[in-house]
């Protein structure tokens, strides 16, 4: 077992465990911190897939910004415990769990069956990757972003503007004791 393989299993383990932590922890702050851990693990997985820049963006945006916001809001509300972490209702609960289970089973099954059928081409896939050779991923990324998908890029700029305006408007809405004005 080479280091790379070990690394993958390690990261996959971390991802799944911290991901389970998000869902299973009763205290939402622990959930948030687990999620931050998941984000960082996912960033590491991006690195193993040679998406270096995106790994950095993942950490900056998700772990460094979005999750900080989550933690901040949770602390703002001071929600230490929930009286009841999970939804009630035995029948719907069963359906929900069954749905999730079947879905993951289906996808996992599909992926493994689909790719073991195509598995004999695995070596070819690998060599094709080498040939395609994303030599400088950041350069490829910027070329695709600023030359081919420039409209999406500008549209996202506008989207962010709209969100900024919208959240300010939302947070200004009156009501409750936490509102300042």
């Amino acid at each position: 077992m080479t280091a790379d393989v070990f690394l993958f299993w390690f990261l996959a383990f971390m991802t799944i465990v911290s991901g389970l932590g998000v869902v299973l922890m009763a205290n939402p702050i622990y959930s948030a911190l687990s999620l931050a851990m998941t984000m960082i693990s996912v960033a590491a997985i991006f690195v193993t897939l040679q998406a270096y820049f995106l790994a950095g963006v993942q950490i900056i945006v998700y772990a460094g910004a979005v999750m900080v916001l989550f933690v901040m809001v949770l602390m703002l509300f001071d929600l230490k415990h929930e009286l009841q972490a999970f939804t009630r209702g035995r029948a719907t609960g069963a359906i929900k769990i069954a749905t999730v289970g079947i879905l993951s089973g289906l996808v996992v099954g599909a992926v493994t069956i689909g790719l073991t059928i195509g598995g004999k081409n695995q070596a070819e896939v690998a060599s094709a990757t080498k040939a395609a050779g994303i030599v400088d991923t950041t350069r490829g990324l910027s070329e695709a972003l600023f030359l081919k998908n420039v409209f999406g890029f500008e549209a996202l700029g506008v989207l962010l503007l709209v969100i900024a305006v919208g959240t300010v408007a939302l947070s200004r809405s009156k009501g409750g004791t936490h509102a300042r004005d």
């Binding site: 690394l7 945006v61 001071d78 600023f146 700029g157 962010l160 503007l161 900024a164 959240t167 936490h178």
Partner: protein, 123 residues
């Protein structure tokens, strides 16, 4: 990318920190509860009280939200900045330059709006 190294040193430092904590606990000993006041949180000598609705300004989380949004816009500029000379050399310079300036105009408009609407005022 030396991912292994990063993970190694992370685990190393975390272990190091945990060991230090335990070391200090071992050398200094755990705090003995000689009085309730000792174990209370520090509130300048006034008996600590816990209220459910501590008033904390919404501004904090508003700042965080605005940070996220602007941070992403900054992140968008990174791949542009790093390949800007490359773009110029391939002749796509004016296009990329123009598209980023439109993006920046939106950015500046957003910032201007936030300042104008007093979303960033901390009385």
């Amino acid at each position: 990318m030396p991912l292994g190294g990063v993970i190694f040193i992370t685990i190393f430092i975390a272990t190091f920190g945990v060991i230090l904590i335990y070391l200090a606990r071992w050398t200094g000993g755990r705090a003995k509860k000689t009085s309730q006041a000792k174990m209370d949180i520090y509130e300048c000598g006034i008996p600590a009280e816990e209220k459910k609705d501590t008033k904390i300004s919404v501004k904090f989380y508003l700042t965080a939200i605005l940070f996220i949004l602007f941070d992403i816009e900054v992140i968008f500029m990174y791949p542009w900045a790093v390949n800007f000379r490359h773009f110029i050399s391939t002749g796509a310079g004016p296009f990329v330059f123009g598209s980023m300036f439109i993006f920046l105009a939106v950015f500046i408009f957003g910032l201007w709006w936030e300042i104008k609407s007093k979303a960033l005022e901390w009385d």
